[in-house]
């Protein structure tokens, strides 16, 4: 009896894992307009290939952070570089920072009138990850002062530091992963088309199709860094009350809320006020 139940459960799980995600379903039902195709063709024609350079012979003066390609298994990196955000001088580094723990589709695939849920996913095999506070790579508990004279020391545990970089918050629809993996047939076909010297109009059409259900601009910082109607249910994702408070009241998201124009520069002293 137990064996039978286990087999059934595994079958259900496998079919659930390999079933067609919402993103691919939307792609299959998308019919492109001429305007979309033309716009895409222009983008493809104007595209300039940027080759990633190795380390520069002049080293940086300060020790910098680790650079890991945690988007390796994402379908988006078939064409986009990793880290992908390059344009906005103000937000690119912070958005790239978020790619360490948030999947591309979480921000860029937000179809109207569809209720998505968000869960931690191992992007290597699209399996679910057991929720725990360490996944947020942050201080777990409120700071405690050990000595009156010294400031409280923020402690990020070893477990939090050692979290697998491929674990990301990903969208789910009806308990099924939305994202397309780069091993799927559609992704492979796209990769082939992109790497081979295909015709520009074919590339443009594929590009238009892929981006049709996506929004170029992701949500504002406040969509998540707020305690009211946040896009992500942090408690459900395993955050402690302390972590939730820190994320919701994040000072940088408050800085960014002050920018009203695209190329605006604000004096830091004013940001700190």
């Amino acid at each position: 009896m137990t064996r039978l139940l286990t087999t059934l459960l595994l079958t259900v799980l496998c079919s659930w894992v390999h079933a067609e995600g919402l993103y691919l379903k939307v792609l299959n039902n998308t019919s492109l307009t001429t305007e979309q195709t033309q716009k895409s063709l222009k983008k493809v024609e104007e595209h300039k290939e940027v080759t990633l350079r190795g380390d520069l012979s002049v080293p940086p003066f300060h020790k910098r952070g680790q650079i890991s390609d945690s988007l390796e298994h994402s379908f988006c990196t078939t064409c986009h570089m990793s880290p992908p955000h390059t344009k906005s001088e103000r937000t690119r580094t912070f958005m790239n920072m978020h790619t360490q723990y948030i999947a591309c589709e979480t921000c860029h695939f937000r179809p109207e009138n569809v209720q998505l849920s968000y869960q931690w996913q191992d992007t290597r095999d699209a399996s679910l990850v057991r929720v725990k506070p360490e996944l947020f790579r942050q201080v777990l508990k409120p700071e405690e002062k050990t000595k009156k004279t010294l400031p409280a020391k923020k402690v990020i545990t070893k477990a939090a530091k050692g979290i697998n970089p491929f674990y990301k918050i990903s969208p789910y629809y009806q308990e099924q992963a939305v994202s397309l993996r780069n091993t799927d047939a559609f992704a492979q076909e796209t990769k082939k088309m992109w790497q081979q010297d295909s015709r520009l109009d074919m590339k443009a059409e594929r590009r238009a199709l892929i981006h049709a259900p996506l929004s170029e601009k992701g949500p504002e910082c406040k969509a998540c860094h707020t305690d009211k109607d946040a896009l992500l249910d942090l408690a459900d994702l395993g955050a402690t009350a302390y972590q939730m408070e820190k994320i919701q009241n994040n000072i940088i998201s408050q800085f960014f809320a002050r920018y009203k124009e695209k190329d605006q520069r604000i004096r830091i002293i004013n940001l700190l006020q």
């Binding site: 520069l56 002049v58 300060h62 020790k63 390059t86 830091i268």
Partner: protein, 480 residues
């Protein structure tokens, strides 16, 4: 009274401030953003940029006491303009040099750099800025090409440092009490004692990172100090690292010896080690007139300072002529060939090779059909070991002194040839002696040989039976 008390409080606070520069915990709030991991992006040139500053590393680094804005003074708004993030290392910091309480500055190093050969290009007050721009446009090094914000005490030396630090707290603490002293002086002194990291190999590595890159050095544009005329670099300059590596100094350092002189030891022995001048500059430590002093420093070659010993300094430490012609930019130019020691030293070798080749040819022509083994070099040993003949020395012993023993005498080819001329040899006797080696039968042979021995020394043999047929190994008499 109140004023007096206030003054005392201010003095005490002021003294505390002067004697103990506390490690700032980011007073400008820069690490509110920059401490986040993963603040990376790829710029339009394909360079991966990182805005993350490792907080704990920074706090434990040489500049851990220096607030960010002390160096990045122009960063006033966000997003930061690249040009505003540049740093002038020669500016004084807000931290104070603890012994005298004056604001710390790299200005002395700035002054040295200003006089050096490295001052020409990337020189915006020892500025940092865009690294790619620096690589693509400037040939002279900036501060950060050689220096980075390293840990105050390297992790590998932390155990030793802690041990020494505990020791110093008890020993030095008898007189110098207080954590401020230990923090400012104790740590600093011990870093110099325990934390000294750079040996001569590492010093040289820093220089050869650039100077051993031949392609990079060929792109350098040199300037004549007198006429200020620009010219392409000489082979001597381009191959300075290669030529140095061939000297005893270079080889000693590669071998991890403490006795080899590093690049800096000769090119900038004094001061803050940054005043590297051209050897043509009369003030330069490597100028020929100053070499006795430079070579004689620290008792390295002290005798060079004495009059009459200057000749020692004529040893060229960057002798390009020692390098192979393949190193040269234009190896087939007359000048390059004429200066090459390899070229000149190849002449005697060529001559010897020619003599050897001609001799071999003549030898082959003359003796190609000769079966006789001619003893030139090793011939005697060959005959002794391989054929079983007696050595020359043994052959020289007079036969007459030996009793006419049972042993048969093996006449040498030459002796036999002589014997043929002087005595009629009975071949039948020989053959019968070979088959029945009795005393009587051997006698006639001995007699023949004794006669020969007067003119040529006979050869004895232990193996009569086997050797006799080999007696005449030169039937055509070509070896005679």
């Amino acid at each position: 009274m109140l004023r007096f008390l206030l003054l005392i409080v201010l003095l005490v606070l002021g003294h505390e401030q002067a004697s103990a520069n506390p490690r700032y915990s980011d007073p400008d709030g820069c690490l509110s953003c920059h401490a986040y991991e993963g603040l990376n992006y790829i710029d339009e040139n394909g360079v991966m940029r990182s805005s993350t500053i490792n907080r704990s590393h920074y706090a434990s680094s040489l500049h851990g006491s220096v607030p960010c804005m002390d160096c990045h003074r122009e960063v006033k708004d966000y997003p930061h303009k690249v040009e505003n993030t540049e740093v002038d290392c020669s500016e004084s910091c807000h931290i104070e040099e603890p012994s005298e309480g004056v604001k710390y500055s790299h200005d002395v190093i700035h002054e040295e750099m200003d006089k050096s050969v490295h001052a020409g290009g990337w020189y915006k007050g020892l500025t940092g800025g865009n690294r790619l721009e620096e690589i693509e446009t400037e040939q002279d090094p900036s501060c950060r090409l050689c220096h980075s914000n390293t840990l105050y005490i390297a992790e590998t030396q932390l155990v030793d440092f802690k041990k020494e630090f505990d020791h110093a707290e008890t020993e030095c603490g008898n007189c110098h009490q207080g954590k401020a002293w230990m923090g400012q002086f104790g740590g600093h002194i011990l870093r110099r004692l325990v934390g000294r990291r750079w040996n001569n190999q590492e010093n040289n590595q820093m220089c050869t990172d650039c100077h051993a890159d031949v392609k990079k050095m060929r792109d350098v544009e040199q300037e004549d100090p007198d006429t200020l005329e620009k010219h392409p670099p000489s082979d001597r300059f381009v191959h300075s690292a290669d030529s140095y590596a061939k000297t005893l100094h270079g080889r000693l350092i590669v071998d991890d010896s403490a006795y080899g002189a590093s690049c800096i030891d000769c090119h900038s022995p004094d001061g803050w080690k940054h005043e590297i001048r051209s050897y043509k500059d009369p003030v330069s430590a490597s100028h020929p007139d100053n070499l006795p002093e430079t070579c004689g420093q620290s008792n390295c070659h002290g005798y060079t300072k004495k009059p009459g010993n200057e000749g020692f300094t004529l040893t060229d430490m960057h002798d390009v002529s020692l390098l192979g012609l393949t190193y040269m930019d234009k190896p087939f130019e007359v000048e390059a060939i004429r200066e090459s020691k390899w070229f000149w030293s190849s002449w005697p070798l060529l001559l010897i090779s020619l003599v050897f080749a001609i001799s071999s040819a003549v030898w082959w022509l003359r003796f190609r059909n000769t079966k006789k083994i001619i003893s030139i070099v090793g011939g005697d040993r060959f005959e002794t070991v391989m054929i079983g003949r007696k050595s020359k020395a043994a052959r020289k012993k007079p036969v007459a002194k030996k009793p006419a023993a049972k042993k048969a005498v093996k006449p040498s080819a030459k002796a036999e040839g002589e014997a043929k001329k002087t005595v009629a040899t009975d071949k039948e006797n020989l053959s019968s002696a070979a088959t029945e080696p009795t005393d009587k039968q051997v006698e006639p042979v001995l007699k023949v040989d004794e006669a020969v021995a007067e003119k040529e020394r006979p050869v004895e043999t232990d193996k009569v039976n086997s050797e006799l047929p080999k007696v005449d190994n030169d039937p055509n008499d070509k070896g005679a």
